[in-house]
Protein backbone atom coordinates (compact mmCIF):
# COMPACT_ATOMS: atom_id res chain seq x y z
CA UNK A 1 0.00 0.00 0.00
CA UNK A 2 1.40 3.39 -0.91
CA UNK A 3 0.48 5.79 1.81
CA UNK A 4 -0.83 9.25 1.21
CA UNK A 5 1.58 11.93 2.41
CA UNK A 6 0.53 15.02 4.32
CA UNK A 7 2.39 18.27 4.18
CA UNK A 8 3.12 19.15 7.81
CA UNK A 9 4.38 22.52 9.02
CA UNK A 10 5.39 23.00 12.64
CA UNK A 11 7.40 25.67 14.39
CA UNK A 12 10.08 23.79 16.28
CA UNK A 13 12.11 25.70 18.85
CA UNK A 14 11.12 28.92 17.12
CA UNK A 15 12.00 27.80 13.58
CA UNK A 16 9.32 26.96 10.98
CA UNK A 17 9.93 23.44 9.63
CA UNK A 18 8.11 21.54 6.92
CA UNK A 19 8.13 17.93 5.81
CA UNK A 20 5.85 15.40 4.17
CA UNK A 21 4.84 12.36 6.20
CA UNK A 22 2.13 9.70 6.26
CA UNK A 23 -0.84 10.09 8.62
CA UNK A 24 0.46 7.43 10.99
CA UNK A 25 3.75 9.25 11.66
CA UNK A 26 3.95 9.95 15.39
CA UNK A 27 5.11 13.42 16.35
CA UNK A 28 8.14 11.95 18.13
CA UNK A 29 9.20 10.07 14.98
CA UNK A 30 8.50 13.14 12.84
CA UNK A 31 10.87 15.19 14.99
CA UNK A 32 13.53 12.49 14.94
CA UNK A 33 13.29 11.04 11.45
CA UNK A 34 11.88 13.79 9.30
CA UNK A 35 13.38 16.82 11.02
CA UNK A 36 16.57 15.20 12.33
CA UNK A 37 16.01 16.36 15.91
CA UNK A 38 17.00 13.23 17.81
CA UNK A 39 16.90 14.78 21.27
CA UNK A 40 13.34 13.55 21.79
CA UNK A 41 13.54 9.92 22.91
CA UNK A 42 11.05 7.09 22.58
CA UNK A 43 10.84 4.55 25.37
CA UNK A 44 7.52 2.81 25.76
CA UNK A 45 5.47 4.29 22.88
CA UNK A 46 2.31 4.14 24.92
CA UNK A 47 2.40 7.16 27.16
CA UNK A 48 3.82 5.63 30.32
CA UNK A 49 7.51 6.56 30.48
CA UNK A 50 7.54 10.25 29.55
CA UNK A 51 10.84 10.11 27.60
CA UNK A 52 9.15 11.62 24.52
CA UNK A 53 7.61 14.60 26.33
CA UNK A 54 7.73 17.84 24.30
CA UNK A 55 5.91 21.14 24.72
CA UNK A 56 3.10 21.84 22.28
CA UNK A 57 2.17 25.52 22.40
CA UNK A 58 4.02 25.56 25.73
CA UNK A 59 2.09 22.64 27.23
CA UNK A 60 3.80 19.28 28.01
CA UNK A 61 2.43 16.41 25.90
CA UNK A 62 3.51 12.89 24.96
CA UNK A 63 4.99 13.05 21.45
CA UNK A 64 4.41 9.27 21.09
CA UNK A 65 0.64 9.77 21.45
CA UNK A 66 0.15 12.59 18.94
CA UNK A 67 0.23 12.26 15.18
CA UNK A 68 2.46 14.75 13.41
CA UNK A 69 -0.47 15.74 11.19
CA UNK A 70 -2.49 16.69 14.29
CA UNK A 71 0.39 18.97 15.31
CA UNK A 72 0.31 20.80 11.96
CA UNK A 73 0.34 24.55 12.57
CA UNK A 74 1.40 24.28 16.20
CA UNK A 75 4.56 25.34 18.03
CA UNK A 76 6.75 22.60 19.49
CA UNK A 77 9.58 22.92 21.98
CA UNK A 78 11.96 19.97 22.29
CA UNK A 79 14.92 19.46 24.60
CA UNK A 80 17.07 21.09 21.90
CA UNK A 81 15.04 24.24 22.50
CA UNK A 82 15.54 24.25 26.27
CA UNK A 83 19.00 25.81 26.00
CA UNK A 84 19.81 29.52 26.19
CA UNK A 85 19.78 31.67 23.09
CA UNK A 86 23.59 31.50 22.76
CA UNK A 87 23.48 27.69 22.83
CA UNK A 88 24.62 27.63 26.46
CA UNK A 89 22.93 25.18 28.83
CA UNK A 90 19.49 26.36 29.88
CA UNK A 91 18.64 26.64 33.58
CA UNK A 92 17.16 23.14 33.86
CA UNK A 93 20.03 21.60 31.89
CA UNK A 94 22.59 23.41 34.05
CA UNK A 95 20.83 22.18 37.20
CA UNK A 96 20.91 18.59 35.90
CA UNK A 97 24.63 18.91 35.31
CA UNK A 98 25.33 20.41 38.74
CA UNK A 99 23.17 17.91 40.65
CA UNK A 100 24.13 14.82 38.64
CA UNK A 101 20.51 14.48 37.51
CA UNK A 102 21.41 12.15 34.66
CA UNK A 103 23.14 8.83 34.36
CA UNK A 104 22.59 7.18 30.97
CA UNK A 105 20.58 10.23 29.90
CA UNK A 106 17.87 8.38 28.04
CA UNK A 107 15.02 9.78 30.10
CA UNK A 108 16.61 13.22 30.43
CA UNK A 109 14.96 15.03 27.48
CA UNK A 110 11.50 14.23 28.83
CA UNK A 111 12.45 15.42 32.28
CA UNK A 112 13.98 18.66 30.96
CA UNK A 113 10.89 19.62 28.93
CA UNK A 114 8.49 18.63 31.73
CA UNK A 115 10.42 20.58 34.37
CA UNK A 116 10.90 23.62 32.11
CA UNK A 117 7.13 23.96 31.72
CA UNK A 118 6.46 23.14 35.36
CA UNK A 119 8.72 25.89 36.72
CA UNK A 120 6.86 28.44 34.69
CA UNK A 121 3.67 27.43 36.45
CA UNK A 122 5.27 27.04 39.88
CA UNK A 123 8.59 28.95 40.13
CA UNK A 124 9.17 28.04 43.80
CA UNK A 125 8.27 24.38 44.35
CA UNK A 126 8.75 22.53 47.63
CA UNK A 127 10.57 19.21 47.55
CA UNK A 128 7.19 17.45 47.77
CA UNK A 129 5.90 19.43 44.78
CA UNK A 130 9.09 18.72 42.84
CA UNK A 131 8.49 14.98 43.33
CA UNK A 132 4.90 15.35 42.20
CA UNK A 133 5.98 17.31 39.11
CA UNK A 134 8.21 14.51 37.82
CA UNK A 135 5.78 11.73 38.78
CA UNK A 136 4.84 11.08 35.14
CA UNK A 137 8.42 10.41 34.00
CA UNK A 138 10.32 7.18 34.49
CA UNK A 139 14.09 6.92 34.89
CA UNK A 140 15.43 3.41 34.43
CA UNK A 141 18.67 4.43 36.11
CA UNK A 142 16.46 5.50 39.04
CA UNK A 143 18.26 8.77 39.59
CA UNK A 144 15.18 10.37 41.12
CA UNK A 145 16.88 11.79 44.20
CA UNK A 146 19.22 13.87 42.07
CA UNK A 147 16.46 14.80 39.64
CA UNK A 148 14.39 16.19 42.51
CA UNK A 149 17.45 18.15 43.61
CA UNK A 150 17.81 19.41 40.03
CA UNK A 151 14.23 20.69 39.98
CA UNK A 152 14.89 22.72 43.11
CA UNK A 153 18.27 23.92 41.82
CA UNK A 154 16.77 24.94 38.47
CA UNK A 155 14.18 27.04 40.30
CA UNK A 156 17.05 28.66 42.19
CA UNK A 157 19.02 29.36 39.00
CA UNK A 158 15.94 30.97 37.45
CA UNK A 159 15.54 33.20 40.50
CA UNK A 160 19.25 34.11 40.46
CA UNK A 161 19.01 35.07 36.81
CA UNK A 162 15.91 37.16 37.46
CA UNK A 163 17.68 38.93 40.32
CA UNK A 164 20.76 39.52 38.14
CA UNK A 165 18.60 41.00 35.44
CA UNK A 166 16.76 43.21 37.90
CA UNK A 167 20.15 44.23 39.37
CA UNK A 168 21.57 45.00 35.93
CA UNK A 169 18.42 46.95 35.09
CA UNK A 170 18.72 48.91 38.34
CA UNK A 171 22.37 49.78 37.73
CA UNK A 172 21.78 51.03 34.19
Amino acid sequence: MTEQLHQITVTVNGVARRADAPARRLLADFLRMDLGLTGTHLGCEHGVCGACTVLMDGVPVRACLIFAVSADGHAITTVEGCCDSGGELGPVQQAFQECHGLQCGFCTPGFITTITAYLEENPKPTEEEAREAIGGNLCRCTGYQNIVAAVLRAAEILRERDADQAGAGGAA
Binding site: L26, E45, G47, G50, P60, V61, C64, L65, V69, S70
Partner: protein, 282 residues
Amino acid sequence: MKPPPVVYHGPDTVDEAVRLLAEHGAHAKVLAGGQSLVPMLNMRLTAPARLIDVNRLDELAYVRTDLEGVRVGALARHSDVERATHAFEAVPLLRQAVRTVAHPTIRNRGTTVGSLVHADPCAEMPAVLALLDGEVLLRSERGGERVVKAADFFVGPMESSCQEDELAVEAYFPKPKGRTGTDWRELSRRNGDYAMCGVGTSVRVDESGSVTSAKAVYIGMGPVPRVVDVTAAGADWESAAEHAADQLDPEDDIHATAEYRRHLARILTARSLKAAYEAVAP
Protein backbone atom coordinates in the same frame (compact mmCIF):
# COMPACT_ATOMS: atom_id res chain seq x y z
CA MET B 1 5.56 -0.47 17.86
CA LYS B 2 4.23 1.96 15.30
CA PRO B 3 0.61 2.51 14.26
CA PRO B 4 -0.73 0.74 11.16
CA PRO B 5 -1.37 2.72 7.93
CA VAL B 6 -4.49 4.82 8.08
CA VAL B 7 -6.34 7.48 6.09
CA TYR B 8 -6.59 10.75 8.00
CA HIS B 9 -9.38 13.33 8.05
CA GLY B 10 -9.09 16.60 9.93
CA PRO B 11 -12.54 18.24 9.76
CA ASP B 12 -12.84 21.93 10.70
CA THR B 13 -16.48 21.90 11.80
CA VAL B 14 -18.79 19.63 13.76
CA ASP B 15 -21.07 19.29 10.70
CA GLU B 16 -18.16 18.10 8.62
CA ALA B 17 -17.08 15.61 11.30
CA VAL B 18 -20.61 14.21 11.54
CA ARG B 19 -20.82 13.94 7.75
CA LEU B 20 -17.54 12.00 7.67
CA LEU B 21 -18.85 9.67 10.37
CA ALA B 22 -22.05 9.07 8.37
CA GLU B 23 -19.93 8.07 5.39
CA HIS B 24 -17.09 6.14 7.05
CA GLY B 25 -18.30 5.39 10.61
CA ALA B 26 -18.14 1.62 10.27
CA HIS B 27 -14.43 1.72 9.37
CA ALA B 28 -13.35 4.84 11.21
CA LYS B 29 -12.40 5.95 14.69
CA VAL B 30 -12.79 9.40 16.16
CA LEU B 31 -9.42 10.72 17.36
CA ALA B 32 -9.82 13.08 20.32
CA GLY B 33 -6.95 13.33 22.83
CA GLY B 34 -5.57 10.05 21.56
CA GLN B 35 -4.41 9.13 25.06
CA SER B 36 -6.20 5.78 24.83
CA LEU B 37 -6.61 5.34 21.08
CA VAL B 38 -2.99 5.99 20.06
CA PRO B 39 -1.53 3.48 22.56
CA MET B 40 -3.96 0.92 21.10
CA LEU B 41 -2.83 1.81 17.57
CA ASN B 42 0.84 1.70 18.60
CA MET B 43 0.34 -1.74 20.10
CA ARG B 44 -1.70 -2.75 17.03
CA LEU B 45 -4.68 -3.69 19.16
CA THR B 46 -6.91 -1.83 16.71
CA ALA B 47 -6.52 -0.88 13.05
CA PRO B 48 -9.29 1.40 11.78
CA ALA B 49 -9.11 2.27 8.06
CA ARG B 50 -9.66 5.95 8.84
CA LEU B 51 -9.17 8.44 11.62
CA ILE B 52 -11.45 11.42 12.07
CA ASP B 53 -9.40 13.89 14.11
CA VAL B 54 -11.66 16.27 16.04
CA ASN B 55 -8.82 18.42 17.39
CA ARG B 56 -9.67 21.33 15.10
CA LEU B 57 -13.25 21.62 16.38
CA ASP B 58 -12.46 24.63 18.58
CA GLU B 59 -16.20 25.20 19.03
CA LEU B 60 -16.20 22.10 21.30
CA ALA B 61 -13.30 23.21 23.50
CA TYR B 62 -15.42 24.54 26.37
CA VAL B 63 -16.24 23.96 30.02
CA ARG B 64 -19.42 25.93 30.83
CA THR B 65 -21.13 26.27 34.18
CA ASP B 66 -24.67 27.52 34.78
CA LEU B 67 -27.25 27.13 37.56
CA GLU B 68 -27.99 23.56 36.47
CA GLY B 69 -24.47 22.18 36.34
CA VAL B 70 -21.38 21.85 34.16
CA ARG B 71 -21.28 21.23 30.41
CA VAL B 72 -18.04 19.87 29.01
CA GLY B 73 -17.49 20.00 25.24
CA ALA B 74 -15.83 17.14 23.42
CA LEU B 75 -12.57 19.02 22.94
CA ALA B 76 -12.17 20.13 26.57
CA ARG B 77 -9.09 18.42 27.99
CA HIS B 78 -9.04 16.84 31.44
CA SER B 79 -6.75 19.72 32.45
CA ASP B 80 -9.36 22.29 31.33
CA VAL B 81 -11.93 20.63 33.59
CA GLU B 82 -9.40 20.51 36.42
CA ARG B 83 -8.52 24.20 36.10
CA ALA B 84 -12.07 25.57 35.68
CA THR B 85 -12.78 27.06 39.10
CA HIS B 86 -16.43 27.76 38.23
CA ALA B 87 -16.88 24.05 37.47
CA PHE B 88 -15.21 23.08 40.74
CA GLU B 89 -17.49 25.43 42.69
CA ALA B 90 -20.64 24.01 41.09
CA VAL B 91 -19.60 20.34 41.02
CA PRO B 92 -16.58 19.81 43.32
CA LEU B 93 -16.43 16.11 42.46
CA LEU B 94 -15.17 16.99 38.97
CA ARG B 95 -11.88 18.40 40.22
CA GLN B 96 -11.66 15.92 43.09
CA ALA B 97 -11.76 13.04 40.59
CA VAL B 98 -10.06 14.42 37.48
CA ARG B 99 -6.88 15.09 39.46
CA THR B 100 -6.44 11.34 39.81
CA VAL B 101 -6.71 10.68 36.06
CA ALA B 102 -3.19 9.69 34.97
CA HIS B 103 -0.43 12.35 35.13
CA PRO B 104 -0.69 16.06 34.27
CA THR B 105 0.97 15.53 30.87
CA ILE B 106 -1.70 12.96 29.90
CA ARG B 107 -4.45 15.24 31.22
CA ASN B 108 -3.16 18.08 29.05
CA ARG B 109 -4.20 16.11 25.98
CA GLY B 110 -6.84 13.54 27.01
CA THR B 111 -10.45 14.73 26.84
CA THR B 112 -13.15 14.11 29.41
CA VAL B 113 -15.74 13.25 26.76
CA GLY B 114 -13.27 10.85 25.09
CA SER B 115 -12.83 9.10 28.41
CA LEU B 116 -16.61 8.68 28.69
CA VAL B 117 -16.93 7.18 25.20
CA HIS B 118 -13.92 4.93 25.83
CA ALA B 119 -15.79 3.57 28.91
CA ASP B 120 -12.80 1.99 30.62
CA PRO B 121 -14.10 0.35 33.82
CA CYS B 122 -11.01 1.73 35.60
CA ALA B 123 -11.56 5.33 34.43
CA GLU B 124 -12.66 8.04 36.82
CA MET B 125 -14.87 10.29 34.69
CA PRO B 126 -17.44 7.64 33.71
CA ALA B 127 -17.90 6.94 37.43
CA VAL B 128 -18.35 10.64 38.15
CA LEU B 129 -20.99 10.90 35.41
CA ALA B 130 -22.76 7.84 36.82
CA LEU B 131 -22.76 9.07 40.43
CA LEU B 132 -24.12 12.48 39.44
CA ASP B 133 -26.74 11.03 37.05
CA GLY B 134 -25.25 12.99 34.17
CA GLU B 135 -25.85 12.72 30.44
CA VAL B 136 -23.98 12.60 27.15
CA LEU B 137 -25.15 14.45 24.05
CA LEU B 138 -24.57 12.53 20.81
CA ARG B 139 -24.98 13.71 17.23
CA SER B 140 -25.29 11.86 13.95
CA GLU B 141 -26.61 12.58 10.47
CA ARG B 142 -28.98 9.65 10.75
CA GLY B 143 -30.57 10.50 14.08
CA GLY B 144 -29.78 14.16 14.73
CA GLU B 145 -29.14 14.78 18.40
CA ARG B 146 -29.91 12.41 21.25
CA VAL B 147 -29.22 12.58 24.95
CA VAL B 148 -28.23 9.42 26.81
CA LYS B 149 -28.35 9.12 30.60
CA ALA B 150 -25.24 7.79 32.31
CA ALA B 151 -27.13 4.70 33.45
CA ASP B 152 -27.72 3.76 29.80
CA PHE B 153 -24.44 5.06 28.42
CA PHE B 154 -21.99 2.57 29.93
CA VAL B 155 -22.85 -0.78 28.40
CA GLY B 156 -19.84 -2.94 29.23
CA PRO B 157 -16.08 -2.78 29.63
CA MET B 158 -14.76 -0.43 26.90
CA GLU B 159 -18.24 -0.19 25.47
CA SER B 160 -20.49 2.85 25.50
CA SER B 161 -23.76 3.34 23.67
CA CYS B 162 -22.15 5.89 21.29
CA GLN B 163 -22.72 4.35 17.85
CA GLU B 164 -20.21 4.15 14.98
CA ASP B 165 -21.72 7.12 13.16
CA GLU B 166 -22.22 9.25 16.25
CA LEU B 167 -20.05 12.05 17.58
CA ALA B 168 -20.20 12.63 21.32
CA VAL B 169 -20.57 16.38 21.47
CA GLU B 170 -20.93 17.24 25.14
CA ALA B 171 -21.16 15.78 28.63
CA TYR B 172 -23.45 17.27 31.25
CA PHE B 173 -22.62 16.94 34.96
CA PRO B 174 -25.60 18.16 37.03
CA LYS B 175 -24.96 20.21 40.13
CA PRO B 176 -25.83 18.20 43.27
CA LYS B 177 -29.01 19.40 45.00
CA GLY B 178 -29.25 20.97 48.45
CA ARG B 179 -26.49 20.43 51.00
CA THR B 180 -24.46 17.74 49.32
CA GLY B 181 -20.85 16.83 50.05
CA THR B 182 -18.72 14.73 47.68
CA ASP B 183 -15.39 12.96 47.89
CA TRP B 184 -13.10 10.95 45.62
CA ARG B 185 -10.33 8.61 46.67
CA GLU B 186 -8.48 5.67 45.21
CA LEU B 187 -5.50 3.45 45.70
CA SER B 188 -3.03 2.78 42.91
CA ARG B 189 0.35 1.14 42.93
CA ARG B 190 2.02 4.32 41.75
CA ASN B 191 0.57 7.83 42.00
CA GLY B 192 -1.13 8.58 38.65
CA ASP B 193 -1.56 4.96 37.57
CA TYR B 194 -4.93 3.32 37.08
CA ALA B 195 -6.43 2.56 40.50
CA MET B 196 -6.77 -0.95 41.93
CA CYS B 197 -9.91 0.38 43.54
CA GLY B 198 -11.44 3.85 43.43
CA VAL B 199 -14.54 5.25 45.06
CA GLY B 200 -16.55 8.43 44.71
CA THR B 201 -19.25 9.33 47.20
CA SER B 202 -21.97 11.90 47.64
CA VAL B 203 -23.85 12.56 50.88
CA ARG B 204 -26.82 14.90 51.24
CA VAL B 205 -27.94 16.19 54.62
CA ASP B 206 -30.90 18.25 55.83
CA GLU B 207 -30.75 21.35 58.06
CA SER B 208 -30.29 19.27 61.19
CA GLY B 209 -27.47 17.22 59.70
CA SER B 210 -29.46 14.01 59.16
CA VAL B 211 -28.45 12.06 56.08
CA THR B 212 -31.18 12.19 53.42
CA SER B 213 -29.17 10.51 50.66
CA ALA B 214 -25.83 8.68 50.46
CA LYS B 215 -24.35 7.00 47.39
CA ALA B 216 -21.06 5.50 46.32
CA VAL B 217 -19.64 4.68 42.89
CA TYR B 218 -16.70 2.40 42.08
CA ILE B 219 -13.97 1.98 39.50
CA GLY B 220 -11.95 -1.15 38.96
CA MET B 221 -14.65 -3.18 40.66
CA GLY B 222 -16.80 -4.44 37.78
CA PRO B 223 -17.50 -4.03 34.04
CA VAL B 224 -19.20 -0.62 34.34
CA PRO B 225 -19.26 2.09 37.02
CA ARG B 226 -21.50 0.74 39.75
CA VAL B 227 -23.59 3.12 41.89
CA VAL B 228 -24.68 1.77 45.27
CA ASP B 229 -27.27 3.55 47.42
CA VAL B 230 -26.38 3.40 51.11
CA THR B 231 -28.85 5.95 52.47
CA ALA B 232 -30.44 3.35 54.73
CA ALA B 233 -27.32 3.11 56.90
CA GLY B 234 -27.74 6.73 58.03
CA ALA B 235 -24.45 8.09 59.35
CA ASP B 236 -23.08 4.66 60.29
CA TRP B 237 -20.31 4.75 57.67
CA GLU B 238 -18.78 1.41 58.64
CA SER B 239 -21.97 -0.53 58.00
CA ALA B 240 -22.72 1.52 54.88
CA ALA B 241 -19.28 0.53 53.55
CA GLU B 242 -19.85 -3.11 54.49
CA HIS B 243 -23.17 -3.12 52.66
CA ALA B 244 -21.69 -1.45 49.55
CA ALA B 245 -18.66 -3.75 49.34
CA ASP B 246 -20.93 -6.81 49.51
CA GLN B 247 -22.71 -5.68 46.34
CA LEU B 248 -19.54 -5.42 44.26
CA ASP B 249 -18.18 -8.03 41.94
CA PRO B 250 -14.43 -7.45 41.57
CA GLU B 251 -12.15 -9.79 39.66
CA ASP B 252 -8.59 -11.03 40.16
CA ASP B 253 -5.88 -9.62 37.93
CA ILE B 254 -2.12 -9.23 38.06
CA HIS B 255 -2.38 -6.15 40.26
CA ALA B 256 -4.70 -7.38 42.99
CA THR B 257 -6.94 -10.26 44.00
CA ALA B 258 -10.72 -9.83 44.08
CA GLU B 259 -10.65 -10.26 47.83
CA TYR B 260 -8.06 -7.53 48.28
CA ARG B 261 -10.07 -5.19 46.05
CA ARG B 262 -13.18 -5.78 48.12
CA HIS B 263 -11.18 -5.04 51.25
CA LEU B 264 -9.97 -1.78 49.69
CA ALA B 265 -13.54 -0.90 48.70
CA ARG B 266 -14.72 -1.33 52.27
CA ILE B 267 -11.98 0.83 53.79
CA LEU B 268 -12.07 3.54 51.12
CA THR B 269 -15.88 3.74 51.17
CA ALA B 270 -16.08 4.30 54.91
CA ARG B 271 -13.42 7.03 54.76
CA SER B 272 -14.92 8.63 51.68
CA LEU B 273 -18.50 8.75 53.01
CA LYS B 274 -17.24 10.27 56.24
CA ALA B 275 -15.28 12.96 54.37
CA ALA B 276 -18.23 13.76 52.09
CA TYR B 277 -20.49 14.05 55.14
CA GLU B 278 -18.07 16.24 57.09
CA ALA B 279 -17.85 18.65 54.16
CA VAL B 280 -21.51 19.63 54.67
CA ALA B 281 -22.48 18.54 58.19
CA PRO B 282 -23.61 21.52 60.27
